[in-house]
């Protein structure tokens, strides 16, 4: 279903390296329109639990997702051909990947944080958007200034709209702060997760 052979990897690699405030790329029109419609239809039947914590209020699916077509898409997104492409464009070794379905409804959010966990080996984060909200839900990337390893100031540097059929890949590191801005109208549907270095 997902075929990275048409991706311009040298150009994506340059975009990754030059991106600010930290390495990331945005790839649009990832699926054929008919495939996107099929995955979206299947996603509508995927059970999502409402989770609320210090950083988030969101709806999250099980891992792996239970709907066969969502699972097939997720397997493709984390499968060998996409992993090889992510490895080439990011310059990071990618051994495996996994993802969940996420829905953000009005009033839901994910506050600024880093995905870095020393023990887990997350190398690159991904988010593929199935449906965009009418307002809000942007992926927000922060620029951080540090002193002696400590973040001493942060600034919102880029907001990426969650357009349907868009894949965003971004670097995972201790200072790659990002957030999902509160959805203020509509719903944001995505499949998101990580590629791991080991």
């Amino acid at each position: 279903m997902i075929d990275p052979s048409g991706w311009n990897l040298p150009a994506l690699g340059r975009a990754w390296r030059e991106a600010q405030p930290f390495p990331h790329v945005v790839i649009d029109q990832v699926l054929l329109a008919a495939d996107l419609a099929r995955v979206r239809e299947s996603f509508a039947w995927e059970p999502h639990a409402h989770l609320r914590g210090e950083l988030y209020s969101q709806m999250r699916s099980a891992q792996p997702p239970s709907q066969p077509l969502v699972q097939t898409f997720c397997d493709g997104l984390t499968g060998p051909s996409v992993r090889a492409a992510v490895e080439l464009l990011s310059g990071k070794r990618i051994a495996r990947g996994d993802g969940n379905g996420y829905v953000y409804r009005e009033g839901q959010y994910l506050l600024p944080h880093s995905d870095h966990r020393e023990s887990e080996g997350r190398a690159v984060a991904f988010a593929f958007y199935l449906a965009a909200p009418e307002r809000g839900g942007e992926l927000e990337l922060f620029d951080c200034r540090t002193r002696r390893g400590e973040i001493i100031s942060t600034r919102s540097a880029r907001r990426i709209r969650p357009r349907a059929n868009r894949l965003v890949l971004f670097d995972v590191g201790a200072r790659t702060l990002h957030a999902v801005r509160e959805v203020t109208r509509g719903a944001r549907m995505s499949i998101a997760g990580w590629y791991y270095g080991r």
Binding site: L55, S57, G107, H113, T154
Partner: protein
């Protein structure tokens, strides 16, 4: 013995002891309104820690006396109360602007807001979880242990123009 034998064990009694208490109607609305008029606000803005306004107040011996009496614990009187103002989009995470983490002590939080918003809960986590609703005049007294963490929920757009005001003071164990 009427209760099960487990209730004689200190570690069980310790685990059952409530994390804190909620006391409604602890401040007059006029007094709360006067505190809301404070002018010397500073903004704390570190995306991964929180976003809110705060202002330090002079020491309040009456609050210290109350905390000691209420919790029956010897507490250092050195802490100064701090005012907080939170609006739509604000939040305060576990690692907020605190320079040092309190190991053991008592934390008082007094809600000075003009109205209840249905948002902005304070959540204490650790061995237990205590969720404090946002209610004008509500005083919470929480006995903090090293494993106790606190955060204040993100305030969504449904908050509108409402503003949440709080006063917080944390007295370490002597």
């Amino acid at each position: 013995m009427i209760l099960k034998s487990a209730f004689t064990r200190p570690e069980i009694i310790q685990a059952l002891r409530p994390l804190g208490a909620l006391i409604p109607g602890a401040i007059d609305s006029e007094q709360a309104a006067a505190l809301r008029k404070h002018r010397a606000w500073k903004i704390f803005d570190l995306a991964h820690r929180g976003h809110y306004a705060f202002a330090d107040l002079p020491r309040a011996p009456a609050l210290h006396r109350f905390a000691e009496e209420f919790c029956q614990l010897p507490l250092s009187p050195d802490a100064r109360p701090r005012l907080f103002r939170l609006e739509r989009g604000d939040y305060s995470l576990v690692y907020d602007d605190a320079q040092r983490r309190l190991e053991r002590g008592v934390e008082l939080i007094l809600d000075l807001s003009a109205r209840a918003t249905g948002e902005g809960e304070i959540v204490y986590t650790g061995s237990d979880e205590l969720v404090i609703p946002q209610l004008p005049g509500l005083l919470s007294a929480v006995v903090r242990a090293p494993a106790t963490f606190r955060y204040e929920r993100y305030l969504p757009h449904s908050l509108g123009r409402a503003v949440i005001y709080r006063m917080r003071v944390t007295y370490p164990l002597r």
